[in-house]
Symmetry: C2
Subunit: 330 residues, 2 copies
Protein backbone atom coordinates (compact mmCIF):
# COMPACT_ATOMS: atom_id res chain seq x y z
CA UNK A 1 0.00 0.00 0.00
CA UNK A 2 1.26 3.48 -0.92
CA UNK A 3 0.86 6.30 1.56
CA UNK A 4 -1.07 8.46 -0.89
CA UNK A 5 -3.83 5.85 -0.68
CA UNK A 6 -4.48 6.43 3.01
CA UNK A 7 -4.03 10.17 3.69
CA UNK A 8 -1.83 11.99 6.16
CA UNK A 9 -3.76 11.63 9.40
CA UNK A 10 -4.28 7.90 8.97
CA UNK A 11 -0.58 7.59 8.15
CA UNK A 12 0.48 9.50 11.26
CA UNK A 13 -1.75 7.23 13.34
CA UNK A 14 -0.19 4.07 11.88
CA UNK A 15 3.29 5.54 12.31
CA UNK A 16 2.67 6.54 15.93
CA UNK A 17 1.09 3.18 16.69
CA UNK A 18 4.22 1.44 15.42
CA UNK A 19 6.47 3.80 17.40
CA UNK A 20 5.27 2.13 20.57
CA UNK A 21 1.75 1.58 21.74
CA UNK A 22 2.51 2.06 25.42
CA UNK A 23 2.29 5.83 25.65
CA UNK A 24 -1.25 6.45 24.42
CA UNK A 25 -1.91 9.75 26.11
CA UNK A 26 1.30 11.49 25.15
CA UNK A 27 1.26 10.52 21.51
CA UNK A 28 -2.23 11.85 20.82
CA UNK A 29 -1.34 15.40 21.85
CA UNK A 30 0.32 18.46 20.27
CA UNK A 31 3.43 17.90 22.40
CA UNK A 32 5.15 15.11 24.24
CA UNK A 33 4.91 15.55 28.03
CA UNK A 34 7.95 14.62 30.12
CA UNK A 35 7.33 14.67 33.88
CA UNK A 36 9.98 16.57 35.88
CA UNK A 37 9.16 17.35 39.50
CA UNK A 38 5.88 19.29 39.62
CA UNK A 39 6.22 20.27 35.96
CA UNK A 40 5.94 18.75 32.53
CA UNK A 41 8.58 19.47 29.97
CA UNK A 42 6.81 19.89 26.65
CA UNK A 43 8.61 18.79 23.51
CA UNK A 44 7.34 19.29 19.99
CA UNK A 45 8.75 19.18 16.48
CA UNK A 46 7.30 20.33 13.15
CA UNK A 47 8.63 19.83 9.65
CA UNK A 48 7.72 21.93 6.60
CA UNK A 49 8.85 21.67 3.00
CA UNK A 50 8.86 23.90 -0.04
CA UNK A 51 6.23 22.10 -2.06
CA UNK A 52 3.58 21.76 0.61
CA UNK A 53 4.10 24.79 2.86
CA UNK A 54 5.76 27.59 0.95
CA UNK A 55 3.90 29.45 -1.80
CA UNK A 56 6.30 31.34 -4.07
CA UNK A 57 5.30 34.66 -2.45
CA UNK A 58 6.73 33.81 0.98
CA UNK A 59 10.08 35.44 1.82
CA UNK A 60 13.07 33.79 3.52
CA UNK A 61 12.43 35.84 6.67
CA UNK A 62 8.79 34.74 6.71
CA UNK A 63 9.79 31.08 6.31
CA UNK A 64 12.00 31.48 9.39
CA UNK A 65 9.21 33.17 11.32
CA UNK A 66 6.69 30.52 10.27
CA UNK A 67 8.68 27.45 11.37
CA UNK A 68 9.28 28.99 14.80
CA UNK A 69 5.68 30.21 15.18
CA UNK A 70 4.03 26.86 14.41
CA UNK A 71 6.24 25.07 16.93
CA UNK A 72 5.49 27.69 19.59
CA UNK A 73 1.78 27.30 18.82
CA UNK A 74 1.96 23.65 19.93
CA UNK A 75 3.40 24.79 23.26
CA UNK A 76 0.75 27.52 23.52
CA UNK A 77 -2.05 24.97 23.17
CA UNK A 78 -0.74 23.13 26.25
CA UNK A 79 -0.26 26.30 28.31
CA UNK A 80 3.51 26.01 28.01
CA UNK A 81 6.17 28.66 28.55
CA UNK A 82 8.85 28.38 25.84
CA UNK A 83 12.38 27.49 26.95
CA UNK A 84 14.04 27.48 23.52
CA UNK A 85 14.10 26.07 20.00
CA UNK A 86 16.32 24.20 17.57
CA UNK A 87 16.22 24.72 13.83
CA UNK A 88 17.45 22.29 11.14
CA UNK A 89 17.55 23.21 7.47
CA UNK A 90 17.64 20.81 4.55
CA UNK A 91 18.88 22.88 1.61
CA UNK A 92 19.31 22.34 -2.13
CA UNK A 93 22.95 23.05 -2.98
CA UNK A 94 22.10 26.05 -5.17
CA UNK A 95 20.45 27.92 -2.29
CA UNK A 96 21.87 31.40 -1.83
CA UNK A 97 23.63 32.33 1.39
CA UNK A 98 21.38 35.41 1.70
CA UNK A 99 18.34 33.14 1.68
CA UNK A 100 19.73 31.04 4.55
CA UNK A 101 20.60 34.17 6.51
CA UNK A 102 17.09 35.49 5.89
CA UNK A 103 15.59 32.33 7.39
CA UNK A 104 17.83 32.71 10.44
CA UNK A 105 16.80 36.36 10.87
CA UNK A 106 13.08 35.62 10.67
CA UNK A 107 13.41 32.67 13.04
CA UNK A 108 15.34 34.71 15.62
CA UNK A 109 12.88 37.57 15.33
CA UNK A 110 9.88 35.34 16.01
CA UNK A 111 11.61 33.59 18.91
CA UNK A 112 12.59 36.87 20.54
CA UNK A 113 9.08 38.26 20.02
CA UNK A 114 7.87 35.45 22.29
CA UNK A 115 10.69 35.86 24.84
CA UNK A 116 12.64 32.82 23.80
CA UNK A 117 15.57 32.05 21.50
CA UNK A 118 17.04 29.58 19.04
CA UNK A 119 19.51 27.43 20.98
CA UNK A 120 21.02 25.53 18.10
CA UNK A 121 20.92 25.07 14.38
CA UNK A 122 22.08 22.68 11.72
CA UNK A 123 22.12 22.57 7.93
CA UNK A 124 22.10 19.55 5.63
CA UNK A 125 21.88 19.01 1.91
CA UNK A 126 18.42 18.09 0.59
CA UNK A 127 16.74 18.01 -2.83
CA UNK A 128 13.91 20.18 -1.54
CA UNK A 129 14.00 23.04 0.94
CA UNK A 130 12.92 21.37 4.21
CA UNK A 131 12.88 22.90 7.69
CA UNK A 132 12.40 21.19 11.01
CA UNK A 133 11.86 23.19 14.17
CA UNK A 134 11.82 21.81 17.68
CA UNK A 135 10.46 23.70 20.65
CA UNK A 136 10.83 22.90 24.31
CA UNK A 137 8.70 24.43 27.00
CA UNK A 138 7.37 23.81 30.48
CA UNK A 139 4.09 23.92 32.34
CA UNK A 140 3.09 23.06 35.91
CA UNK A 141 1.47 19.63 35.95
CA UNK A 142 -1.76 21.01 37.41
CA UNK A 143 -1.95 23.66 34.66
CA UNK A 144 -1.41 21.42 31.61
CA UNK A 145 -4.16 21.71 29.00
CA UNK A 146 -4.36 18.32 27.25
CA UNK A 147 -6.49 17.37 24.25
CA UNK A 148 -8.32 14.94 26.49
CA UNK A 149 -10.67 16.21 29.20
CA UNK A 150 -13.73 17.71 27.47
CA UNK A 151 -17.10 16.85 29.07
CA UNK A 152 -20.68 17.26 27.77
CA UNK A 153 -21.94 20.69 28.76
CA UNK A 154 -18.51 22.33 28.46
CA UNK A 155 -18.51 25.33 26.16
CA UNK A 156 -16.33 25.59 23.07
CA UNK A 157 -14.19 28.71 22.68
CA UNK A 158 -11.62 30.07 20.26
CA UNK A 159 -9.05 32.82 20.66
CA UNK A 160 -8.79 35.64 18.12
CA UNK A 161 -10.48 35.36 14.74
CA UNK A 162 -10.82 32.48 12.34
CA UNK A 163 -10.33 31.92 8.62
CA UNK A 164 -7.12 33.93 8.12
CA UNK A 165 -5.20 30.96 6.75
CA UNK A 166 -7.82 29.88 4.25
CA UNK A 167 -8.57 33.41 3.05
CA UNK A 168 -4.86 34.16 2.64
CA UNK A 169 -4.22 31.04 0.60
CA UNK A 170 -7.27 31.77 -1.55
CA UNK A 171 -6.03 35.33 -2.17
CA UNK A 172 -2.68 33.98 -3.37
CA UNK A 173 -4.23 31.37 -5.66
CA UNK A 174 -6.76 33.84 -7.08
CA UNK A 175 -3.98 36.42 -7.44
CA UNK A 176 -6.08 39.12 -5.74
CA UNK A 177 -4.55 42.63 -5.95
CA UNK A 178 -3.81 42.85 -2.19
CA UNK A 179 -2.81 39.19 -1.90
CA UNK A 180 0.41 39.82 0.04
CA UNK A 181 -1.42 41.80 2.69
CA UNK A 182 -4.15 39.14 2.91
CA UNK A 183 -1.58 36.36 3.18
CA UNK A 184 0.38 38.10 5.92
CA UNK A 185 -1.23 36.19 8.84
CA UNK A 186 -0.74 32.95 6.89
CA UNK A 187 2.99 33.61 6.50
CA UNK A 188 3.59 35.20 9.91
CA UNK A 189 1.15 33.63 12.35
CA UNK A 190 1.14 34.80 15.97
CA UNK A 191 1.18 31.81 18.31
CA UNK A 192 -1.06 32.35 21.34
CA UNK A 193 1.66 31.85 23.92
CA UNK A 194 0.58 34.38 26.53
CA UNK A 195 -3.09 33.49 26.06
CA UNK A 196 -2.26 29.79 26.51
CA UNK A 197 -0.31 30.46 29.70
CA UNK A 198 -3.09 32.68 31.12
CA UNK A 199 -5.83 30.16 30.30
CA UNK A 200 -3.79 27.30 31.75
CA UNK A 201 -3.24 29.20 35.00
CA UNK A 202 -6.93 30.10 35.19
CA UNK A 203 -7.77 26.41 35.60
CA UNK A 204 -10.89 26.84 33.49
CA UNK A 205 -10.00 24.75 30.42
CA UNK A 206 -10.92 21.07 30.06
CA UNK A 207 -9.30 20.40 26.63
CA UNK A 208 -7.15 22.39 24.22
CA UNK A 209 -5.41 22.19 20.86
CA UNK A 210 -4.42 24.68 18.19
CA UNK A 211 -6.38 25.25 14.98
CA UNK A 212 -3.55 24.62 12.53
CA UNK A 213 -5.54 21.86 10.76
CA UNK A 214 -8.74 23.92 10.58
CA UNK A 215 -11.82 23.99 12.82
CA UNK A 216 -13.64 20.94 11.39
CA UNK A 217 -10.57 18.71 11.47
CA UNK A 218 -9.66 19.82 14.97
CA UNK A 219 -13.16 19.14 16.29
CA UNK A 220 -13.03 15.64 14.79
CA UNK A 221 -9.71 15.04 16.51
CA UNK A 222 -11.16 16.15 19.87
CA UNK A 223 -14.26 13.99 19.24
CA UNK A 224 -12.11 10.91 18.66
CA UNK A 225 -9.97 11.49 21.75
CA UNK A 226 -12.77 12.52 24.13
CA UNK A 227 -15.62 10.39 22.84
CA UNK A 228 -18.12 13.28 22.74
CA UNK A 229 -19.60 15.44 19.99
CA UNK A 230 -20.00 19.18 19.40
CA UNK A 231 -22.62 21.72 18.39
CA UNK A 232 -21.13 24.78 16.73
CA UNK A 233 -23.10 27.95 15.93
CA UNK A 234 -22.01 29.36 12.59
CA UNK A 235 -23.07 32.91 13.43
CA UNK A 236 -20.90 32.96 16.57
CA UNK A 237 -17.61 32.06 14.87
CA UNK A 238 -15.43 35.20 14.94
CA UNK A 239 -14.68 36.03 11.32
CA UNK A 240 -11.26 37.50 10.52
CA UNK A 241 -10.88 40.70 8.51
CA UNK A 242 -9.09 38.73 5.78
CA UNK A 243 -12.15 36.53 5.25
CA UNK A 244 -14.37 39.62 4.97
CA UNK A 245 -12.02 41.28 2.50
CA UNK A 246 -11.79 38.23 0.25
CA UNK A 247 -15.55 37.62 0.41
CA UNK A 248 -16.25 41.23 -0.58
CA UNK A 249 -14.40 40.71 -3.82
CA UNK A 250 -16.66 37.80 -4.82
CA UNK A 251 -20.20 37.23 -6.08
CA UNK A 252 -23.09 36.51 -3.65
CA UNK A 253 -23.27 32.78 -4.37
CA UNK A 254 -19.56 32.15 -3.95
CA UNK A 255 -19.57 34.20 -0.76
CA UNK A 256 -21.58 31.75 1.34
CA UNK A 257 -19.80 28.59 0.32
CA UNK A 258 -16.33 30.13 0.51
CA UNK A 259 -16.96 31.71 3.89
CA UNK A 260 -17.83 28.29 5.28
CA UNK A 261 -14.78 26.84 3.56
CA UNK A 262 -12.49 29.43 5.20
CA UNK A 263 -14.05 29.16 8.67
CA UNK A 264 -14.47 25.40 8.92
CA UNK A 265 -12.33 23.57 6.42
CA UNK A 266 -9.10 25.57 6.00
CA UNK A 267 -5.89 25.20 7.97
CA UNK A 268 -3.25 27.78 8.78
CA UNK A 269 -4.96 29.49 11.74
CA UNK A 270 -2.85 29.34 14.87
CA UNK A 271 -5.63 30.23 17.27
CA UNK A 272 -6.49 28.00 20.23
CA UNK A 273 -9.57 25.77 20.29
CA UNK A 274 -10.69 25.20 23.86
CA UNK A 275 -13.41 23.51 25.86
CA UNK A 276 -14.25 25.37 29.04
CA UNK A 277 -16.08 24.33 32.18
CA UNK A 278 -19.46 26.16 32.09
CA UNK A 279 -19.18 27.55 35.63
CA UNK A 280 -15.78 29.11 34.81
CA UNK A 281 -16.61 30.95 31.60
CA UNK A 282 -16.43 34.46 33.08
CA UNK A 283 -13.05 33.73 34.61
CA UNK A 284 -11.70 32.29 31.34
CA UNK A 285 -12.87 35.29 29.33
CA UNK A 286 -11.38 37.69 31.88
CA UNK A 287 -8.00 35.91 31.91
CA UNK A 288 -7.78 36.57 28.17
CA UNK A 289 -9.27 40.05 28.09
CA UNK A 290 -6.72 41.32 30.62
CA UNK A 291 -4.10 40.58 27.92
CA UNK A 292 -5.99 42.60 25.32
CA UNK A 293 -7.01 39.37 23.58
CA UNK A 294 -10.36 37.84 22.82
CA UNK A 295 -12.06 34.57 23.66
CA UNK A 296 -15.26 33.81 21.75
CA UNK A 297 -17.71 31.04 22.65
CA UNK A 298 -18.90 29.27 19.53
CA UNK A 299 -20.72 26.16 20.78
CA UNK A 300 -20.76 23.32 23.25
CA UNK A 301 -19.68 19.75 23.90
CA UNK A 302 -22.50 17.21 23.50
CA UNK A 303 -23.06 13.67 24.70
CA UNK A 304 -24.05 12.63 21.21
CA UNK A 305 -20.93 11.82 19.20
CA UNK A 306 -21.80 14.02 16.20
CA UNK A 307 -20.34 17.30 15.06
CA UNK A 308 -23.24 19.57 14.21
CA UNK A 309 -23.33 23.03 12.65
CA UNK A 310 -26.27 25.25 13.57
CA UNK A 311 -26.83 27.89 10.90
CA UNK A 312 -29.93 30.08 10.66
CA UNK A 313 -31.69 27.64 12.96
CA UNK A 314 -30.90 24.63 10.75
CA UNK A 315 -28.74 21.73 11.88
CA UNK A 316 -26.29 19.97 9.54
CA UNK A 317 -23.31 17.67 9.95
CA UNK A 318 -19.87 19.28 9.74
CA UNK A 319 -17.69 17.23 7.40
CA UNK A 320 -14.48 15.61 8.55
CA UNK A 321 -12.07 17.32 6.17
CA UNK A 322 -9.43 20.01 5.94
CA UNK A 323 -6.05 20.34 4.37
CA UNK A 324 -4.22 17.04 4.41
CA UNK A 325 -0.97 15.91 2.80
CA UNK A 326 -0.93 12.60 0.90
CA UNK A 327 -4.65 13.14 0.41
CA UNK A 328 -6.38 10.10 -1.03
CA UNK A 329 -7.32 10.81 -4.64
CA UNK A 330 -11.04 11.33 -5.12
Amino acid sequence: MRINDIGERALIERFIQKLGESKGENLEDDCAFIPMGNQYLLLTSDMISKKTHMPSEISAQQIGWFIVAINLSDLAAKGGKPMGLLLSLGLPSDTSLEFVEGIAEGASECASCFNTSILGGDTKEDLELTLTGTAIGKVRKIDLMARRGAKPGDLVGVTGEIGKGGAGLFALKANLPNKLELAHPLFEPMPRIKEGIALARSGTVSASMDLSDGLACSLYQLERINGYGFEIEMEKIPVSIEVKEVINQLGKKEQTSLKKEFLLYSGGDYELLLTIKPQAIDQAVKSIESLGSKLTLIGKVTKEKKIILIEEGKRSLIQNRGYEHFRPKK
Copy 2:
Protein backbone atom coordinates in the same frame (compact mmCIF):
# COMPACT_ATOMS: atom_id res chain seq x y z
CA MET B 1 26.89 33.62 -3.14
CA ARG B 2 25.64 30.01 -3.40
CA ILE B 3 26.06 27.68 -0.45
CA ASN B 4 27.98 25.12 -2.49
CA ASP B 5 30.73 27.75 -2.76
CA ILE B 6 31.42 27.81 0.97
CA GLY B 7 30.99 24.26 2.30
CA GLU B 8 28.81 22.89 5.07
CA ARG B 9 30.77 23.80 8.18
CA ALA B 10 31.27 27.40 7.09
CA LEU B 11 27.57 27.57 6.27
CA ILE B 12 26.53 26.22 9.67
CA GLU B 13 28.78 28.82 11.30
CA ARG B 14 27.21 31.67 9.32
CA PHE B 15 23.73 30.31 10.03
CA ILE B 16 24.38 29.96 13.75
CA GLN B 17 25.95 33.40 13.90
CA LYS B 18 22.81 34.87 12.37
CA LEU B 19 20.58 32.92 14.74
CA GLY B 20 21.80 35.09 17.57
CA GLU B 21 25.34 35.82 18.62
CA SER B 22 24.57 36.02 22.33
CA LYS B 23 24.78 32.36 23.22
CA GLY B 24 28.32 31.51 22.10
CA GLU B 25 29.02 28.55 24.29
CA ASN B 26 25.77 26.69 23.68
CA LEU B 27 25.79 27.01 19.95
CA GLU B 28 29.27 25.58 19.45
CA ASP B 29 28.40 22.28 21.10
CA ASP B 30 26.73 18.99 20.10
CA CYS B 31 23.65 19.91 22.14
CA ALA B 32 21.94 22.99 23.48
CA PHE B 33 22.21 23.21 27.28
CA ILE B 34 19.20 24.50 29.21
CA PRO B 35 19.84 25.12 32.91
CA MET B 36 17.23 23.59 35.23
CA GLY B 37 18.08 23.47 38.93
CA ASN B 38 21.35 21.57 39.36
CA GLN B 39 20.98 19.97 35.94
CA TYR B 40 21.23 20.85 32.29
CA LEU B 41 18.56 19.69 29.91
CA LEU B 42 20.30 18.70 26.69
CA LEU B 43 18.47 19.23 23.43
CA THR B 44 19.73 18.12 20.04
CA SER B 45 18.29 17.61 16.58
CA ASP B 46 19.71 15.90 13.49
CA MET B 47 18.34 15.78 9.98
CA ILE B 48 19.23 13.17 7.33
CA SER B 49 18.09 12.80 3.75
CA LYS B 50 18.07 10.06 1.14
CA LYS B 51 20.68 11.47 -1.18
CA THR B 52 23.36 12.28 1.37
CA HIS B 53 22.84 9.71 4.12
CA MET B 54 21.16 6.62 2.75
CA PRO B 55 23.00 4.30 0.37
CA SER B 56 20.59 2.05 -1.52
CA GLU B 57 21.60 -0.94 0.64
CA ILE B 58 20.19 0.51 3.88
CA SER B 59 16.85 -0.96 5.03
CA ALA B 60 13.88 0.96 6.44
CA GLN B 61 14.54 -0.50 9.88
CA GLN B 62 18.17 0.59 9.70
CA ILE B 63 17.18 4.13 8.67
CA GLY B 64 14.99 4.28 11.79
CA TRP B 65 17.80 2.94 13.96
CA PHE B 66 20.30 5.38 12.45
CA ILE B 67 18.31 8.58 13.01
CA VAL B 68 17.76 7.67 16.66
CA ALA B 69 21.35 6.54 17.21
CA ILE B 70 22.99 9.70 15.84
CA ASN B 71 20.81 11.90 18.05
CA LEU B 72 21.58 9.79 21.11
CA SER B 73 25.27 10.05 20.24
CA ASP B 74 25.10 13.83 20.71
CA LEU B 75 23.68 13.28 24.20
CA ALA B 76 26.35 10.65 24.91
CA ALA B 77 29.14 13.11 24.09
CA LYS B 78 27.85 15.46 26.82
CA GLY B 79 27.40 12.69 29.40
CA GLY B 80 23.63 12.91 29.08
CA LYS B 81 20.98 10.41 30.11
CA PRO B 82 18.29 10.20 27.41
CA MET B 83 14.75 11.27 28.38
CA GLY B 84 13.06 10.69 25.02
CA LEU B 85 12.97 11.44 21.31
CA LEU B 86 10.73 12.86 18.62
CA LEU B 87 10.80 11.69 15.01
CA SER B 88 9.54 13.62 11.95
CA LEU B 89 9.42 12.06 8.50
CA GLY B 90 9.31 13.92 5.19
CA LEU B 91 8.04 11.37 2.68
CA PRO B 92 7.58 11.25 -1.09
CA SER B 93 3.93 10.43 -1.77
CA ASP B 94 4.77 7.07 -3.41
CA THR B 95 6.44 5.72 -0.27
CA SER B 96 5.01 2.38 0.84
CA LEU B 97 3.30 2.03 4.19
CA GLU B 98 5.54 -0.95 5.01
CA PHE B 99 8.59 1.29 4.57
CA VAL B 100 7.22 3.86 7.02
CA GLU B 101 6.37 1.13 9.52
CA GLY B 102 9.89 -0.30 9.09
CA ILE B 103 11.38 3.08 10.01
CA ALA B 104 9.18 3.25 13.10
CA GLU B 105 10.21 -0.28 14.14
CA GLY B 106 13.92 0.42 13.79
CA ALA B 107 13.62 3.73 15.61
CA SER B 108 11.71 2.18 18.53
CA GLU B 109 14.17 -0.70 18.71
CA CYS B 110 17.17 1.63 18.97
CA ALA B 111 15.46 3.85 21.54
CA SER B 112 14.49 0.92 23.73
CA CYS B 113 18.00 -0.55 23.41
CA PHE B 114 19.24 2.62 25.15
CA ASN B 115 16.45 2.65 27.76
CA THR B 116 14.47 5.46 26.22
CA SER B 117 11.51 5.83 23.86
CA ILE B 118 10.02 7.82 21.02
CA LEU B 119 7.57 10.29 22.56
CA GLY B 120 6.04 11.67 19.39
CA GLY B 121 6.09 11.45 15.65
CA ASP B 122 4.92 13.34 12.63
CA THR B 123 4.85 12.79 8.87
CA LYS B 124 4.85 15.35 6.07
CA GLU B 125 5.05 15.24 2.30
CA ASP B 126 8.50 15.91 0.82
CA LEU B 127 10.15 15.37 -2.57
CA GLU B 128 13.01 13.48 -0.94
CA LEU B 129 12.91 11.09 2.00
CA THR B 130 14.02 13.30 4.92
CA LEU B 131 14.09 12.43 8.62
CA THR B 132 14.59 14.69 11.59
CA GLY B 133 15.16 13.27 15.03
CA THR B 134 15.23 15.25 18.25
CA ALA B 135 16.62 13.90 21.50
CA ILE B 136 16.26 15.32 24.97
CA GLY B 137 18.45 14.30 27.88
CA LYS B 138 19.79 15.52 31.18
CA VAL B 139 23.08 15.73 32.99
CA ARG B 140 24.10 17.20 36.35
CA LYS B 141 25.73 20.59 35.75
CA ILE B 142 28.98 19.50 37.40
CA ASP B 143 29.15 16.40 35.17
CA LEU B 144 28.57 18.07 31.79
CA MET B 145 31.30 17.33 29.23
CA ALA B 146 31.47 20.36 26.91
CA ARG B 147 33.56 20.78 23.77
CA ARG B 148 35.42 23.58 25.53
CA GLY B 149 37.79 22.82 28.39
CA ALA B 150 40.85 21.04 26.93
CA LYS B 151 44.23 22.18 28.33
CA PRO B 152 47.78 21.55 27.08
CA GLY B 153 49.08 18.37 28.64
CA ASP B 154 45.65 16.69 28.68
CA LEU B 155 45.64 13.33 26.93
CA VAL B 156 43.42 12.51 23.96
CA GLY B 157 41.30 9.36 24.14
CA VAL B 158 38.72 7.60 22.03
CA THR B 159 36.16 4.96 22.94
CA GLY B 160 35.90 1.73 20.95
CA GLU B 161 37.54 1.40 17.56
CA ILE B 162 37.85 3.81 14.67
CA GLY B 163 37.33 3.72 10.92
CA LYS B 164 34.13 1.64 10.82
CA GLY B 165 32.18 4.33 8.96
CA GLY B 166 34.79 4.96 6.27
CA ALA B 167 35.52 1.27 5.72
CA GLY B 168 31.81 0.47 5.48
CA LEU B 169 31.15 3.18 2.93
CA PHE B 170 34.17 2.08 0.90
CA ALA B 171 32.94 -1.53 0.94
CA LEU B 172 29.57 -0.42 -0.45
CA LYS B 173 31.10 1.74 -3.18
CA ALA B 174 33.63 -0.93 -4.17
CA ASN B 175 30.85 -3.54 -4.04
CA LEU B 176 32.97 -5.89 -1.91
CA PRO B 177 31.45 -9.39 -1.48
CA ASN B 178 30.75 -8.95 2.27
CA LYS B 179 29.75 -5.31 1.93
CA LEU B 180 26.53 -5.58 3.98
CA GLU B 181 28.39 -7.07 6.91
CA LEU B 182 31.11 -4.41 6.63
CA ALA B 183 28.54 -1.61 6.42
CA HIS B 184 26.60 -2.85 9.45
CA PRO B 185 28.22 -0.45 11.97
CA LEU B 186 27.71 2.40 9.47
CA PHE B 187 23.98 1.65 9.25
CA GLU B 188 23.42 0.69 12.89
CA PRO B 189 25.88 2.67 14.99
CA MET B 190 25.93 2.16 18.75
CA PRO B 191 25.88 5.52 20.53
CA ARG B 192 28.15 5.52 23.59
CA ILE B 193 25.45 6.45 26.08
CA LYS B 194 26.59 4.41 29.07
CA GLU B 195 30.24 5.23 28.41
CA GLY B 196 29.40 8.95 28.23
CA ILE B 197 27.47 8.84 31.50
CA ALA B 198 30.28 6.91 33.26
CA LEU B 199 33.00 9.24 31.99
CA ALA B 200 30.98 12.33 32.92
CA ARG B 201 30.45 11.01 36.46
CA SER B 202 34.14 10.17 36.78
CA GLY B 203 34.98 13.89 36.53
CA THR B 204 38.08 13.10 34.49
CA VAL B 205 37.16 14.62 31.13
CA SER B 206 38.06 18.19 30.09
CA ALA B 207 36.42 18.23 26.63
CA SER B 208 34.25 15.83 24.62
CA MET B 209 32.49 15.42 21.30
CA ASP B 210 31.47 12.50 19.11
CA LEU B 211 33.41 11.39 16.04
CA SER B 212 30.55 11.58 13.53
CA ASP B 213 32.51 14.00 11.29
CA GLY B 214 35.73 11.93 11.43
CA LEU B 215 38.82 12.29 13.63
CA ALA B 216 40.62 15.03 11.67
CA CYS B 217 37.55 17.24 11.38
CA SER B 218 36.67 16.76 15.03
CA LEU B 219 40.18 17.66 16.18
CA TYR B 220 40.02 20.85 14.09
CA GLN B 221 36.71 21.74 15.71
CA LEU B 222 38.20 21.23 19.19
CA GLU B 223 41.29 23.25 18.17
CA ARG B 224 39.12 26.18 17.07
CA ILE B 225 37.00 26.14 20.24
CA ASN B 226 39.83 25.56 22.73
CA GLY B 227 42.69 27.44 21.06
CA TYR B 228 45.16 24.58 21.44
CA GLY B 229 46.64 21.96 19.11
CA PHE B 230 47.03 18.19 19.17
CA GLU B 231 49.66 15.51 18.61
CA ILE B 232 48.16 12.20 17.53
CA GLU B 233 50.13 8.97 17.28
CA MET B 234 49.02 6.97 14.26
CA GLU B 235 50.10 3.61 15.71
CA LYS B 236 47.96 4.13 18.81
CA ILE B 237 44.65 4.69 17.01
CA PRO B 238 42.48 1.62 17.68
CA VAL B 239 41.70 0.16 14.25
CA SER B 240 38.30 -1.43 13.77
CA ILE B 241 37.91 -4.93 12.37
CA GLU B 242 36.06 -3.48 9.34
CA VAL B 243 39.12 -1.40 8.40
CA LYS B 244 41.34 -4.48 8.65
CA GLU B 245 38.99 -6.56 6.54
CA VAL B 246 38.74 -3.96 3.79
CA ILE B 247 42.49 -3.32 3.78
CA ASN B 248 43.20 -7.05 3.46
CA GLN B 249 41.30 -7.12 0.18
CA LEU B 250 43.57 -4.43 -1.35
CA GLY B 251 47.10 -4.09 -2.72
CA LYS B 252 50.01 -2.93 -0.47
CA LYS B 253 50.15 0.61 -1.86
CA GLU B 254 46.45 1.30 -1.50
CA GLN B 255 46.50 -0.17 2.00
CA THR B 256 48.51 2.63 3.63
CA SER B 257 46.70 5.56 2.09
CA LEU B 258 43.24 4.06 2.57
CA LYS B 259 43.91 3.10 6.17
CA LYS B 260 44.78 6.72 6.92
CA GLU B 261 41.70 7.84 5.01
CA PHE B 262 39.45 5.57 7.09
CA LEU B 263 41.03 6.46 10.44
CA LEU B 264 41.43 10.21 10.01
CA TYR B 265 39.27 11.55 7.25
CA SER B 266 36.04 9.51 7.23
CA GLY B 267 32.85 10.22 9.14
CA GLY B 268 30.23 7.82 10.41
CA ASP B 269 31.97 6.67 13.60
CA TYR B 270 29.89 7.34 16.68
CA GLU B 271 32.68 6.90 19.17
CA LEU B 272 33.57 9.61 21.69
CA LEU B 273 36.65 11.82 21.32
CA LEU B 274 37.79 13.02 24.73
CA THR B 275 40.52 15.04 26.36
CA ILE B 276 41.39 13.77 29.82
CA LYS B 277 43.25 15.36 32.72
CA PRO B 278 46.63 13.55 32.90
CA GLN B 279 46.39 12.79 36.65
CA ALA B 280 42.99 11.12 36.14
CA ILE B 281 43.80 8.73 33.31
CA ASP B 282 43.64 5.54 35.36
CA GLN B 283 40.28 6.52 36.78
CA ALA B 284 38.90 7.35 33.33
CA VAL B 285 40.06 4.05 31.85
CA LYS B 286 38.60 2.12 34.80
CA SER B 287 35.23 3.88 34.56
CA ILE B 288 34.95 2.59 31.00
CA GLU B 289 36.47 -0.87 31.52
CA SER B 290 33.96 -1.66 34.24
CA LEU B 291 31.30 -1.42 31.49
CA GLY B 292 33.15 -3.88 29.27
CA SER B 293 34.16 -1.00 26.98
CA LYS B 294 37.50 0.39 25.93
CA LEU B 295 39.20 3.77 26.16
CA THR B 296 42.38 4.19 24.12
CA LEU B 297 44.83 7.07 24.49
CA ILE B 298 45.99 8.28 21.10
CA GLY B 299 47.81 11.55 21.75
CA LYS B 300 47.85 14.79 23.69
CA VAL B 301 46.76 18.42 23.71
CA THR B 302 49.58 20.86 22.84
CA LYS B 303 50.12 24.56 23.40
CA GLU B 304 51.08 24.97 19.76
CA LYS B 305 47.93 25.41 17.67
CA LYS B 306 48.76 22.72 15.10
CA ILE B 307 47.31 19.28 14.58
CA ILE B 308 50.21 16.90 14.10
CA LEU B 309 50.31 13.22 13.18
CA ILE B 310 53.27 11.20 14.45
CA GLU B 311 53.83 8.14 12.28
CA GLU B 312 56.93 5.93 12.40
CA GLY B 313 58.72 8.75 14.22
CA LYS B 314 57.89 11.33 11.53
CA ARG B 315 55.71 14.38 12.14
CA SER B 316 53.25 15.69 9.57
CA LEU B 317 50.26 18.02 9.58
CA ILE B 318 46.82 16.39 9.69
CA GLN B 319 44.62 18.00 7.04
CA ASN B 320 41.41 19.79 7.92
CA ARG B 321 39.01 17.68 5.92
CA GLY B 322 36.38 14.97 6.18
CA TYR B 323 33.00 14.35 4.72
CA GLU B 324 31.17 17.61 4.20
CA HIS B 325 27.90 18.44 2.43
CA PHE B 326 27.85 21.38 -0.01
CA ARG B 327 31.58 20.73 -0.44
CA PRO B 328 33.29 23.51 -2.41
CA LYS B 329 34.18 22.22 -5.85
CA LYS B 330 37.90 21.65 -6.28
